[in-house]
């Protein structure tokens, strides 16, 4: 008798647990749909003719995908050209951010000099300074130096504004690793820069991954500096294909949607491939930042 009562309670508990789990899954699904439904809507209507947008349906089934939208996006939207600019600017910027932040945090953390903490804090103040407050004077400075409208006009501020966070992550990580190996290498007469590139960089790999990911997302999606410092189309980055195209085809909404979908595509692909590293890197960077 006692055994069946126990079984019944156990079964009840199990059912309760199962229902609980289903409720959790349903709630998560609702949230997920809410989060990405606008994106689905966008992609859906990028595949049909513009006038179908004005029908009553929330979503339509594109019987024959209207690829013309994507053709326009690739040609008049100049997506490939902007993509190339984005790649060039991002790769150079992220490379510089990693190298400079490793060098700086080594100089601040491993070398003993009187003002090291003062300068480290000076760099960390950059966290608090809004980029937007520098747009006006940097625009003037770049014009005076005649470097406006070039890759450099983007790379310099991108590097500068990502250095505080990068240096913070790097120097935090450096605090956590022992310096015995470096000391013995120095004893053996290894030069500082060789030491940095052959011994320190490999040890710093987790921190470097974090810095690369956060910096890359920042740089890749940056818009307002690019909008301010670049005046011609030649050097503009991917976000601009959307911006320019919506002016050119102001009433062809479906074609605009196609441009948006196309310019979101590269980062989506990268995210799908690297998703574990990205979420880990972001979490590490944010918690430490």
């Amino acid at each position: 008798m006692a055994a069946t009562v126990y079984d019944k309670q156990n079964l009840k508990g199990k059912i309760k647990k199962k229902t609980f789990r289903y409720i959790q899954i349903i709630l998560c699904s609702i949230l997920t749909v809410g989060c990405i439904f606008p994106l689905i809507w966008l992609i859906d209507f990028s595949l049909v003719k513009a006038n179908e947008l004005f029908g009553p349906k929330v979503l339509v089934w594109p019987k024959q995908p209207h690829w013309e939208n994507y053709r326009l996006a690739l040609t008049d939207g100049k997506v490939p050209q902007y993509l190339l600019n984005s790649v060039i600017v991002s790769v150079i910027s992220v490379g510089l951010i990693v190298i400079l932040s490793v060098m700086m945090s080594y100089g601040f953390k491993r070398m003993r000099w009187r003002l090291s903490n003062v300068f480290l804090n000076l760099v960390l103040i950059g966290f608090m300074i809004p980029i937007h407050a520098t747009l006006l004077s940097n625009f003037i400075t770049f014009t005076e130096l005649k470097i406006q409208d070039s890759y450099i006009a983007l790379i310099i501020p991108y590097v500068a504004f990502n250095l505080p966070q990068a240096t913070f992550i790097m120097s935090g990580f450096m605090d956590s690793i022992p310096d015995a190996i470096e000391e013995s290498a120095l004893m053996d007469g290894c030069s500082i820069f060789r030491l940095l590139f052959t011994i320190v960089l490999p040890i710093m790999k987790p921190a470097i991954m974090t810095v690369m990911i956060t910096a890359f997302l920042n740089v890749w999606n940056e818009f307002i500096m690019a909008a301010t410092y670049l005046t011609s189309y030649r050097f503009r980055t991917l976000p601009f294909s959307v911006y320019n195209f919506s002016g050119m085809y102001s009433s062809n909404y479906s074609a605009q949607f196609a441009v948006m979908a196309l310019s979101a595509f590269p980062s989506l692909i990268a995210y799908v491939i690297l998703n574990k590293h990205i979420t880990k890197g972001i979490a590490a960077g944010a918690v430490k930042g």
């Binding site: 959790q24 899954i25 709630l27 998560c28 949230l31 997920t32 989060c35 990405i36 606008p38 994106l39 809507w41 966008l42 947008l53 004005f54 009553p56 929330v58 400079l100 060098m103 700086m104 080594y106 100089g107 601040f108 300068f119 760099v123 103040i125 950059g126 300074i129 809004p130 980029i131 937007h132 407050a133 520098t134 747009l135 006006l136 004077s137 940097n138 310099i156 590097v159 500068a160 504004f161 250095l163 997302l217 890749w220 818009f223 307002i224 976000p239 601009f240 959307v242 911006y243 605009q256 949607f257 948006m260 310019s263 980062s267 995210y271 979420t279 972001i282 979490a283 944010a286 918690v287």
Partner: protein
């Protein structure tokens, strides 16, 4: 040697981050209109920004609304779902975690322009959806109606940042030792008790960090506003960064805009210091 290590980084940083602020401080004391000659007029611009400019006050209040909404709506929702997703386990857990972060990897230009279309009054998704579920009377010109525009903008910013808030809480929860929950279960704690007695106290440092990020970043919003409403209708959705930008490049009040920029930096520094004083966990 030290010089060679830190100089390149410091140079770039000083050139593009620190120097511009001093330069703005100088231009803020002029009546420059972006072209031609200008006169030094002392602290007149700064006085106007701080004491007379109503739009500046509106911008600050809007940032406050955004901060309050983020902390009271986005964060509780993000934390709630972080706890649920953490319990799912396996493939479902990684699926939801991955998908919820998608809006964060897409360029803000794409998402902002997308929301302009989603909010469009004649073909937008929101109004069509309301029609479809027979709630047509709730339809609005979401970005054009002065009554709702600010909340539409706030909603988009919360939507875009949700993945970050979620992810930080999620990894905070992952950092809580499983043993604690098992001990709680043995003692017969239900989900709510687990949350109050284990999750919340263990998560407190993460919450504090997350909330301070939310407050300081609310001040710095610009791109979504610039791309969706440009501060309008009127100045209903104006934020400081967008305001100074439009004062410089549309209104050609370059000197005045630089004064705003300097006051903006000062406000950000002060807010950061206050937030850090209040929110830094004692044991960190």
């Amino acid at each position: 040697m030290i010089f060679a290590l830190v100089f390149p980084g410091l140079l770039v940083y000083t050139f593009a981050v620190l120097y511009p602020i001093f330069k703005s401080f100088y231009y803020g004391m002029t009546d420059w209109k972006a072209i031609g000659e200008y006169n030094i007029i002392g602290f007149e611009n700064y006085r106007k920004v701080v004491f007379e400019d109503k739009v500046f006050v509106t911008s600050l209040l809007n940032a406050a609304v955004l901060a309050v909404c983020t902390v009271l709506i986005q964060h509780p929702v993000a934390m709630f779902f972080a706890i649920i997703v953490d319990k799912l386990g396996g493939k479902l857990e990684s699926f939801f975690r991955a998908v919820l972060f998608i809006p964060c990897v897409i360029s803000i230009v794409v998402t902002s322009k997308m929301w302009v279309n989603v909010f469009n009054s004649s073909y937008g998704l929101v109004n069509k959806f309301l029609d479809a579920i027979h709630l047509g009377f709730l339809k609005h010109d979401w970005l054009g109606d002065p009554k709702v525009a600010l909340y539409s903008v706030v909603f988009v910013i919360m939507w875009q940042g949700f993945g970050y808030a979620f992810l930080i809480y999620y990894s905070g929860i992952k950092g809580i030792p499983e043993v604690l929950f098992e001990a709680g279960k043995i003692d017969g704690a239900n989900s709510w008790q687990q949350f109050i007695k284990i999750t919340y106290p263990m998560l407190k440092p993460v919450i504090l960090v997350n909330v301070s990020i939310a407050i300081t970043s609310s001040l710095k919003q610009m791109e979504p506003i610039y791309l969706m409403t440009n501060g309008g209708p009127g100045t209903k959705t104006q934020f400081i960064a967008n305001y100074l930008y439009s004062q410089a490049f549309s209104a050609q009040k370059y000197g005045y805009a630089n004064a705003i920029a300097v006051v903006f930096v000062v406000i950000c520094l002060i807010t950061n210091i206050i937030v850090q004083k209040i929110f830094t966990p004692k044991d960190m």
